[in-house]
Structure formats: structure tokens, C-alpha cells
Amino acid sequence: MHKFANPTFFMKIANAVFPYAAGLSALCFAVGIPIALVFSPPDYQQSETVRIMYVHVPAAWMGSMVYGVMAVSSAVYLIWRHTIAHIIARASAPIGAMFTGLCLVTGMLWGQPMWGTFWVWDARLTSMLILFFLYLGYIALGDSFEDQERGDKAAALLALVGSVNLPIIHFSVEWWNTLHQPAIRSFAGFSINAAMLWPLLLMVFAFQTYYVAVLIIRLRSELLSAKIRTARFNLAAAE
């Protein structure tokens, strides 16, 4: 644990991982996108629009997963005061927000042909929108204080509080249905067949490796600016 908390050691591992993550991501996208968009079979109900799924579903899953990473890192930061954990969370936030935004946009684009409207106040959509707001709130809160450390801690606490939303996203479909009108989305016959499943999984893996690669790039710059801050601070102290 403590070994990983050391930024130098941590970055050594991260730098070693980076080429593999970046390479795998590029490869999976290169293979996955043509398969998903051209070669995979159209759905018998949804026809060609089903191709949106290959972006929508990985983006949705990654949006939740990245928030989970942030919540765990923030807990580590608050309990053991390992700043590297917080830096991971902070570096993850914009990436996660992007995934969530992508899920929302693709979902809306999909919704237009499927439901005849871009947006419905359905629970799944709502909880995903909440997740997006939480990302924005996390980013905004972290930058809202004169004192950086104060912002770091407030944001970390928020990440923890917001993690309550993750199970809600997942179970929201059922909860809403029991209360309101019957399911808006009906996936009867949508039980995924192998020809659609494996391109989907390929895309999911592409998204995951993409996340890891971008995260490492962002970590580098975060640590660099932290180093600059310390240097400046030591200079001031020496005066």
C-alpha cells in the first residue's frame, strides 16, 4: 500500500503500463469500430440504429466505473491521506464526465428513432444525468477555493457522498417501473446474440484501455504541476 502511495514508484509502474494501454486501445478501436458500425448484423427490430449501442453501452458502463474509481480513491485519500489517490480521482473526473456525456448524447440520438423523443424523464436517464451533474459538481467544487487543499478535501468528500448514485443508476429501471407507467424501453428479443456480443465486448475493452491511457497522461501533468508548486513553495520558504 505505502509503496504505491509513493508518487515516483507509482509513476514508474504507470509509465510501464502506458504503452500497452495506449497500443491495445488503438488496436481495439481499429478493429472494433468497423465491425460495430459495418460488419455486425442489424437488429431485426431496431435495424441499423442498433449500431449506436456499440458506443452507448460502453460509454454508460465506463461513466459509472470511472466514478467508482474516483469514490474508492477519494476514500483512500481521506483515510490515509495519500495524495496520489486524490490525484487519480481528480485526473479521472473529466474523463468520466466525457464518457457520461457521450452516453447521454448517444442515448438521446438513439431515443429519437426509438421513442420519438430525445428525452424522457425516466429514472435511468435521470440517474445518468445526475451522475453527469455529480462529475460537474466534483470538478467545480475542487476549483472553488483559494486554498487548494481545502478544495481537494471537499471534492473527495463529495465523490464519496455521490457514490450512492451508482446503484441507483443500475436499479433505476425497476424502481421507476413499479411506480409509474410500464417500461418505456422494451428490449424483448434484444437478448444479445453472440454476433452482437463480441463486438460489444471488444468496444468495452477499447474504452477501458483508452481510459487507462488517458488517465496516465493526465496523471503525469498533474504530478508535474504539483512538483512545480512545491518548487515554488520551497523557493518562497528559502527567501
Binding site: 483559494e146 486554498d147 487548494q148 515554488r232 513553495f233 518562497a236 520558504a237
Partner: protein, 218 residues
């Protein structure tokens, strides 16, 4: 406010560093103060007196270094540390909507002080005739007296006062001087930031800008 004598104790800080907004405000500062002693913090505007007082109160955290009470790190139990100190900062913490007596009585009840202590503290600082007036109409000096009365009734051994003489007239200065001496006589400790007359001739002086070698502590 005479009262029971405090147990002998010692409050000290070792090699404190504190940064605010990325700038080093206190560097390698050490001090030690024992029962019955007073210390006056000196330094120009912005040198870190208020910052040091807030560190001592446990309201802020030093970047490095330790503050100890009788050898125990204060950060281990901040609530207990809070309970043994009275703090008067730049802000008076007086609620305009309440009367002077209500203001003081609230703090007295949190500190386990009695109603008679409130009356005594008001008498000491010449507030008795204002007791039932809402604090909104107090003059600057009267309001500041209420803050000092709160410290006086806290029954805490350690008093941290940030420029307590501001806005006070001669009568209030005298009252404060007497209260401070009585507190020291009971075995209390006083740390006080001040630019001018410190009221306490016997007090030691600590220049907050001074970077002290570790060995000079104590």
C-alpha cells in the same frame, strides 16, 4: 474572574511551519509556555500572528511541526483542546439579534459556566447596564467587550487573544488588564497578539517572523 486554581500544565509548539495559499507564513517556529505565563506575539501586519493563534487553537493545521499540551499532541483530541481554551479573534462572534446577556449565556451554557458567572463577566467589562439590549445597537467597543467577557467566563486555562485592546477605552483596558493578571495568578496561560501596549509587563515576546533554530525552543 477569580476562581479555582488551574492544574499546572505546559503548552508548546515545535518547529511549526504553516503555509497559506501557497505562501510560507510561519517557518520553523517554536515556543513553550507554562502555567502562569504570558506570551505576546509581535510582528508587522500580515506576519502571521493570527495564523499562529489559529494553529494554537487547533482551528488550522500546520504543514509540519507539532503542538503539544503536557506532551500530548493536540490534534489527537481537538474537542478536548477546544474545551481548555478561550479564543477571541478578529471577529467578535456576537449575534446581533440576541441581547448581550443571551449571547453570553449561550456560551456559558456550552462551557458549563453558571448564570452568576455571566453576570460577573458583564460587570467586569462594564456591560451590566447593556445586558438586555440587542447586540445590534452596540458600539464597536461595547461589542468587543462582549467577546472578551466570553473568554473571561470560559473557565479555560489557556487564553488566546488576537489584538484584544482594539476599540477599547481606558476603563475597558483596565478591566482587561486586571482580568488578565487574575487569570495568570490562578495559573492560567495567555497568548496574545498585539501591536502596541501589551498590558502585561511580565509577558515574554515572540516575534512570529523569527526563524528559530530548533535548539532555541523552550
Amino acid at each position: 474572574m477569580s476562581g479555582p486554581v488551574f492544574n499546572t500544565a505546559e503548552f508548546s509548539g515545535a518547529r511549526l511551519n504553516c503555509q497559506r495559499g501557497g505562501r510560507m507564513v510561519l517557518t520553523n517556529l517554536s515556543f513553550r509556555i507554562a502555567s502562569g505565563e504570558a506570551m505576546v506575539l509581535r510582528g508587522p501586519n500580515g506576519s502571521g500572528k493570527t495564523t499562529l493563534l489559529r494553529l494554537m487553537a487547533g482551528l488550522a493545521r500546520a504543514s509540519s511541526g507539532a503542538l503539544t499540551w503536557n506532551g500530548d499532541d493536540i490534534s489527537e483530541d481537538l474537542s478536548a483542546h477546544g474545551a481548555r481554551l478561550g479564543f477571541a479573534g478578529h471577529l467578535d462572534a456576537v449575534k446581533s439579534a440576541q441581547t448581550v446577556r443571551e449571547n453570553l449565556f449561550f456560551w456559558a451554557s456550552l462551557r458549563g459556566a453558571r448564570a452568576s458567572d455571566v453576570e460577573r463577566a458583564m460587570a467586569t467589562f462594564g456591560l451590566s447596564h447593556l445586558a438586555d439590549i440587542t447586540a445590534r445597537v452596540l458600539s464597536a467597543g461595547q461589542r468587543h467587550r462582549v467577546a472578551l467577557a466570553r473568554v473571561a467566563l470560559s473557565n479555560a486555562p489557556l487564553w488566546l487573544l488576537d489584538e484584544p485592546t482594539n476599540t477599547l477605552d481606558d476603563a475597558a483596558l483596565n478591566a482587561l488588564r486586571n482580568t488578565l493578571s487574575a487569570h495568570l495568578h490562578r495559573g492560567g496561560m495567555i497568548v496574545m497578539a498585539s501591536h502596541g501596549d501589551s498590558l502585561l509587563p511580565q509577558a515574554r515576546t515572540l516575534d512570529v517572523r523569527q526563524t528559530q533554530p530548533a535548539s532555541a525552543a523552550a
